[in-house]
C-alpha cells in the first residue's frame, strides 16, 4: 500500500519529509523509500489545480453574483466545465473522459468551491455520484452508451431522497412496476441537485416493496422519458445550484436501463455515498479556504485606530486558529482521497473529513464575515453565500447526525475485531 503512494508521489517531491513510521510493518513495506507528505501531488494534479483555478477565477468569478441573484446557473459555465474536461474527470478516455485520478476530481471540486460553491456542487454530484455509479456498476454496453454523453454534454442528477425519506434513505416510496420489457416508475423525488438542467437521471425506485430495501433498484432515466420538474426550491445558499422536486408519473424506463442489477440499489447508494462524502469535504474545504482568502487580505488593508486591523493580536490569534482548522480539514480530505485511490478502507476517514470540513466551513466563513465588518455583510463585497452555505454542509447528504451515528458504529466494529 505504501509503495503505491510512493510511486505516485516520488516523481515530483514538492515538499519531502523523510519520516518513516515507527511500525515494523511500515519498515518492511517501505524499505528505505521516502514517503512524502500528505499534501504531495503529482505533476498532473498540480497542473489540474492551476488550470481549474484559472478557469474558476477568469470564467466563473465574474458571473457568481449574477447567478446567485438570479438563482440560475449560467449555461455558459456548464458548457465551460464540459469543455475543460471537468465533467468526466475519472472517466476513461475511451468514453470521452479525462482519465484522471480521484484526487484530481477532489482538487477540481475544491478549487471551484473557493470561487463558487454552486458550481462546485454541480461538478461534484455529476462526477462523484452520477459518473462513478456508471463506472462501477454499469455493464460495458451501458458505459459505452451513457458515459460519453455525460463527459461531453449532458448533465447528470442523482435522485434518491424523497419528501418522507432523507437520512432514512431506504424508506423511499417511489415504485417501479414491471411491464413487459419496461418498468413503470411512479413517485416523487425531493432535494435533487442539478435537476433543473440535467438530462440524465439516476433514479432509485423499489421494484418489490415486499422485499423492503432489497427491492430498491437504480434506473437510468433521460429527461425525454417524462421526468417532470414539479418545483424548484428557493434556497438560502448555493442558490445558483438547482434543487428541485421531481415527479414521475407513469414514466416508462426500459429494463436495459437498470444499473447494477435488480434489487442492488441500496448497495449502490450506500457505497457511492461513502465516496461522495469526500467530495462534500472538498466542497466545504474550498468554501472555508475561499472565505479565509477573501477576508484576511482585506484586514491587512483596512486600517482603524492607526493600523491595519489584521495586525491586532486579537485578530492574529483568530487567523491562526482558522488557518490551522482549515489545514486539518485539508489533510483529512486528501488523506481520505488517497486511501480510496490506494484501495484502502476509507469509510471512517471520509465521514471524519466531511464532518470536520463542514464544521470548519461553518466557523471560518462566519468569522470571515465578522473580520470584514460591514463589507462582509453586503451581497456585493461579502461572499454572498457565506452566511447561508456554511450551515448547508451539515445537512448535505445526510445530517451530521448520520455521520455521528456512522462513526461510532465503525469504532465499535474496529474495537471488537
Amino acid at each position: 500500500m505504501f509503495r503505491h503512494i510512493v510511486k505516485t508521489a516520488l516523481p515530483v517531491p514538492r515538499r519531502t519529509v523523510a519520516r518513516g513510521f515507527a511500525t515494523t510493518r511500515a519498515r518492511r513495506d517501505v524499505e528505505g523509500a521516502r514517503i512524502a507528505s500528505l499534501d504531495t501531488f503529482t505533476e498532473e494534479e498540480n497542473m489540474i489545480r492551476e488550470s481549474v483555478q484559472r478557469f474558476a477565477t477568469d470564467v466563473v468569478k465574474p458571473k457568481v453574483r449574477e447567478m446567485d441573484e438570479n438563482e440560475m446557473m449560467d449555461p455558459s459555465i456548464i458548457k465551460g466545465l464540459f469543455e475543460q474536461g471537468l465533467m468526466g474527470i475519472e472517466t476513461s478516455a475511451d468514453h470521452g473522459g479525462s482519465e484522471s485520478s480521484f484526487t484530481s476530481a477532489i482538487i477540481a471540486i475544491e478549487e471551484l468551491a473557493k470561487v463558487d460553491p454552486s458550481v462546485s456542487v454541480l461538478c461534484d454530484v455529476h462526477n462523484t455520484l452520477v459518473n462513478t455509479v456508471l463506472r462501477k456498476y454499469a455493464t460495458e454496453e451501458q458505459k459505452a452508451k451513457w458515459l460519453p454523453q455525460l463527459s461531453e454534454s449532458k448533465l447528470g442528477s442523482f435522485c434518491l431522497s424523497e419528501a418522507a425519506s432523507g437520512s432514512d434513505a431506504f424508506a423511499l416510496q417511489t415504485r417501479a412496476t414491471k411491464s413487459g420489457d419496461d418498468y413503470i416508475i411512479n413517485g416523487s423525488k425531493m432535494w435533487i441537485t442539478n435537476s433543473y438542467e440535467a438530462e440524465i437521471f439516476l433514479v432509485f425506485a423499489n421494484i418489490d416493496s415486499s422485499k423492503g430495501y432489497k427491492g430498491i433498484t437504480c434506473f437510468l432515466a433521460t429527461k425525454d422519458m417524462g421526468v417532470q420538474i414539479a418545483k424548484k426550491e428557493e434556497k438560502l445558499g448555493i442558490r445558483a445550484s438547482s434543487t428541485c422536486t421531481l415527479s414521475f408519473d407513469d414514466v416508462k424506463i426500459p429494463a436495459a436501463n437498470i444499473i447494477g442489477g435488480e434489487g442492488k440499489g441500496y448497495k449502490i447508494a450506500i457505497e457511492i455515498l461513502n465516496e461522495g462524502r469526500i467530495g462534500i469535504a472538498a466542497q466545504m474545504l474550498g468554501l472555508a479556504q475561499g472565505a479565509f482568502d477573501l477576508a484576511v487580505p482585506y484586514t491587512y488593508q483596512r486600517s482603524q485606530f492607526g493600523q491595519p486591523i489584521g495586525t491586532f493580536q486579537g485578530m492574529a490569534f483568530q487567523f491562526a486558529e482558522a488557518a490551522t482548522q482549515i489545514e486539518a480539514a485539508r489533510l483529512l480530505t486528501y488523506n481520505a482521497a488517497r486511501r480510496k485511490e490506494s484501495g484502502l478502507s476509507f469509510v471512517k476517514e471520509a465521514a471524519m473529513a466531511k464532518w470536520w470540513a463542514s464544521k470548519v466551513a461553518e466557523s471560518v466563513s462566519g468569522k470571515a464575515i465578522e473580520w470584514m465588518g460591514g463589507t462582509g455583510f453586503t451581497r456585493e463585497t461579502g461572499w454572498r453565500s457565506i452566511g447561508e452555505i456554511r450551515r448547508l454542509g451539515r445537512s448535505m447528504r445526510g445530517r451530521r447526525i448520520s455521520s455521528c451515528r456512522l462513526l461510532p458504529s465503525l469504532f465499535r466494529r474496529s474495537i471488537h475485531r
Partner: protein
C-alpha cells in the same frame, strides 16, 4: 506539370518560466535582484505565442507538421514545457541549466535557439513573446533574427500564413498605430498582447501532455556558452510616490508650473 512538393510548417515556440504576473515583487535585501521565492508561471506573452501556434494549426490543419516548445532554465522549468504541451505543442526541448546558474541573457538565449534551429533545419517559423515580464528586455526575437539572417515581424497583433507560397502577412503594433508587413518564410514573429487570448489547458490535454516527448539538452551539447556578459550593479525599487497637491485655480496652476521650471507655459 509536376506538382510542387508539399510545404509543411514547422513551428518553434520558445517559452520562459518567469515570476507570475500577479505576484507582488520585492527587491531582495542585498539589492542584487528580486525575491524569487514566489510563484512562477509561463511568461504571459509566451502563452500567447503557444496559443498562436496552436491556432495556426487549427486553421491550416495538415499544413502544420510540428509545434515544438523549448525552454532554457533550471529543472523546475519543465513545468512550463508541460503547460505548452497541454496547450497543444507536440514535443518539447529542455535546455537544462543548474538551479544556481544565473538567468540566461537575451543574447545567450538567441544563440542557444540558433543552435537548436541549426540542428532542426526543418523549422521555418519561430514565435516568441515580445518580452519577458521579469526583465522586460524585448531583445531575444530580434537578436535571433539577426543571428539567423531571417526576416522578423515583431509586436504582432494579427498573423496570417500562406504555407504554399511561404509568405506571412503580419499586422504590427507600432507607436504611431499599426503597420502591415508581408514577410517571406523563414520568419521570426514576436507576439503582442492583443494577438489572442490563450486557452486554459483542459484536463484531457493535461493528461495527454504526459505522453508527449521532452528532449533534454545541456548548453554544452549545443556548443553555447551562457556565461553572462552583463553585470547587474544594483536593483532598487522605484522612488515612492510623493503626494500631489490640489490647486484652486488655473492661475495658481500656471504659477506652480513656472516655479517648477516649466517655462514653456
Amino acid at each position: 506539370m509536376r506538382p510542387s512538393p508539399a510545404c509543411l510548417l514547422n513551428i518553434l515556440v520558445p517559452v520562459k518560466r518567469a515570476v507570475d504576473y500577479a505576484v507582488k515583487i520585492r527587491v531582495n535585501p542585498q539589492q542584487t535582484g528580486v525575491d524569487l521565492n514566489v510563484k512562477h508561471s509561463m511568461n504571459p506573452f509566451d502563452e500567447i505565442a503557444v496559443e498562436e501556434a496552436v491556432r495556426i494549426r487549427e486553421k491550416l490543419k495538415d499544413e502544420v507538421k510540428s509545434i515544438k516548445a523549448v525552454t532554457i532554465g533550471p529543472p523546475k522549468s519543465v513545468d512550463t514545457l508541460r503547460t505548452a504541451l497541454a496547450m497543444g505543442a507536440d514535443s518539447a526541448i529542455h535546455v537544462e541549466i543548474p538551479e544556481s546558474a544565473p538567468s540566461p541573457e537575451p543574447l545567450g538565449v538567441a544563440k542557444t535557439l540558433r543552435a537548436i534551429i541549426d540542428k532542426n533545419k526543418e523549422i521555418d517559423l519561430v514565435i516568441l513573446g515580445k518580452q519577458a515580464i521579469d526583465d522586460d528586455a524585448g531583445q531575444t526575437g530580434q537578436m535571433l533574427a539577426g543571428l539567423l539572417g531571417w526576416s522578423q515581424a515583431t509586436f504582432a497583433s494579427k498573423v496570417d500564413i500562406d504555407v504554399v507560397n511561404k509568405v506571412a502577412t503580419v499586422l504590427r503594433e507600432i507607436d504611431g498605430g499599426s503597420e502591415q508587413l508581408k514577410c517571406r518564410l523563414p520568419l521570426i514573429i514576436t507576439t503582442d498582447l492583443r494577438l489572442n487570448e490563450p486557452r486554459y489547458a483542459s484536463l484531457p490535454n493535461i493528461m495527454k501532455a504526459k505522453k508527449k516527448p521532452i528532449e533534454k539538452l545541456k548548453p554544452t551539447d549545443l556548443g553555447v556558452d551562457l556565461t553572462p556578459i552583463l553585470e547587474t550593479l544594483k536593483v532598487t525599487e522605484p522612488p515612492k510616490r510623493v503626494g500631489g497637491s490640489k490647486v484652486g485655480s488655473v492661475d495658481e496652476l500656471v504659477a506652480k508650473l513656472k516655479d517648477a521650471g516649466f517655462t514653456g507655459v
